[in-house]
Symmetry: C2
Subunit: 220 residues, 2 copies
């Protein structure tokens, strides 16, 4: 089955088998497929239907190298802390994630496509709901992109580390001051595999009417 | 086809026909179905796989009334401005949206289920990427909820107006200070219909390598 036909995957199956795939082959990904996935990303809602998004598709090794350097700088600090914490707690699942993120950092320039999802708006830091509403206009589209990548058989993940400095990320991508980079989705044919994920049980995170009232239980 | 079988809808079809459905029937929605949708929401990614979300399912008319009052207060200001702007520009599509939001505000307490998606974390206002990363751990799950609702045939929309004051929204829902309400999804059997949506063409919002380089064109 080709990647475009894969987009007919049943919705529930796509959701249940979506996971971050960080180890990717360097083989190219068709522009037409990337555009198809972004077109589906644009089907997500935006506040007041503003559609105030911008997507930068990065394939140029020079631009990838600048994002790779930003990613490495942030990962050196953040990954170091994470590794120490995971080792101390003997958290093997977390250590496996950390190894995959390390692989991604080491091979960042070889990743065939980086999609940078941006908001074309001023994100007000206050009141808090203003920021929530702004990000609520970009992350639903990023999730569409991740689900569509999964259905098409492309590896993908949602990362923000290369954007730790918006100033430097804007410079790397030539973004004007009113376009804010929010997330990076590295895309490529996977070395890893998709498959079912484990999550906390729903009854532990759902309250009825008032926080903490764990009265709802799934039937199964 | 029952709502649960509907979740087998092809992914691309679900995405292409997802739209905000604000006019909802007052008929009840099964708890089991709501939990099923939230379980699929939990399949979305979270930063460092923290799964630091909380969902409050509001069915109690007294709690709905408090959120309805908050929504009304914000809508009075925001909707008034929107209506004047849309009338001045003779923007009929926007006026139709405004009428639907007005209907929603007028019938808020009759909506059978309100799902409030929350983050259990401190959302740092600075650096900007900290806030982006935090909201990037809740809005992908909200998008899963919206897509799953669409596939199940339930009407749904993503709104933030009832949360304009986090202080008052926390009081209405009994949320502690470290749980931040981020979005409300009103759910119910639709009076309106799902169907294809219109978006800006992908080539207008995609740049290659550098912002503004509109070199990528879809094949069709």
């Amino acid at each position: 089955m080709g990647p475009v036909e894969g987009l007919n995957m049943p919705l529930e199956e796509a959701m249940r088998t979506q996971r971050a795939i960080r180890r990717l082959r360097p083989d190219p990904v068709d522009d037409a497929l990337v555009l198809h996935l972004i077109e589906l990303a644009l089907k997500a809602p935006t506040g007041s239907n503003a559609q105030n998004w911008e997507f930068v598709v990065v394939k140029d090794p020079a631009v990838k190298a600048r994002l790779a350097a930003l990613n490495r700088r942030a990962w050196r600090v953040y990954g170091g802390i994470g590794r120490r914490m995971a080792k101390r707690a003997d958290d093997r699942a977390m250590l496996r994630i950390i190894e995959a993120v390390q692989w991604q950092a080491d091979h960042f320039v070889e990743i065939p496509v980086l999609v940078v999802a941006c908001l074309k708006t001023l994100i007000l830091p206050w009141p808090p709901i203003a920021a929530a509403s702004a990000y609520g206009s970009i992350f639903p589209s990023v999730q569409n992109l991740l689900l569509a990548a999964r259905a098409a058989g492309l590896g993908a993940a949602l990362i923000t580390l290369p954007l730790w400095s918006r100033f430097l990320a804007r410079r790397a991508l030539g973004l004007p001051w009113n376009v804010a980079p929010c997330a990076v989705v590295p895309l490529g044919w996977p070395l890893g595999r998709y498959g079912p994920t484990h999550r906390r049980p729903v009854e532990e995170v759902v309250s009825l009417n008032r926080y903490g009232n764990r009265a709802l239980r799934p039937a199964h």
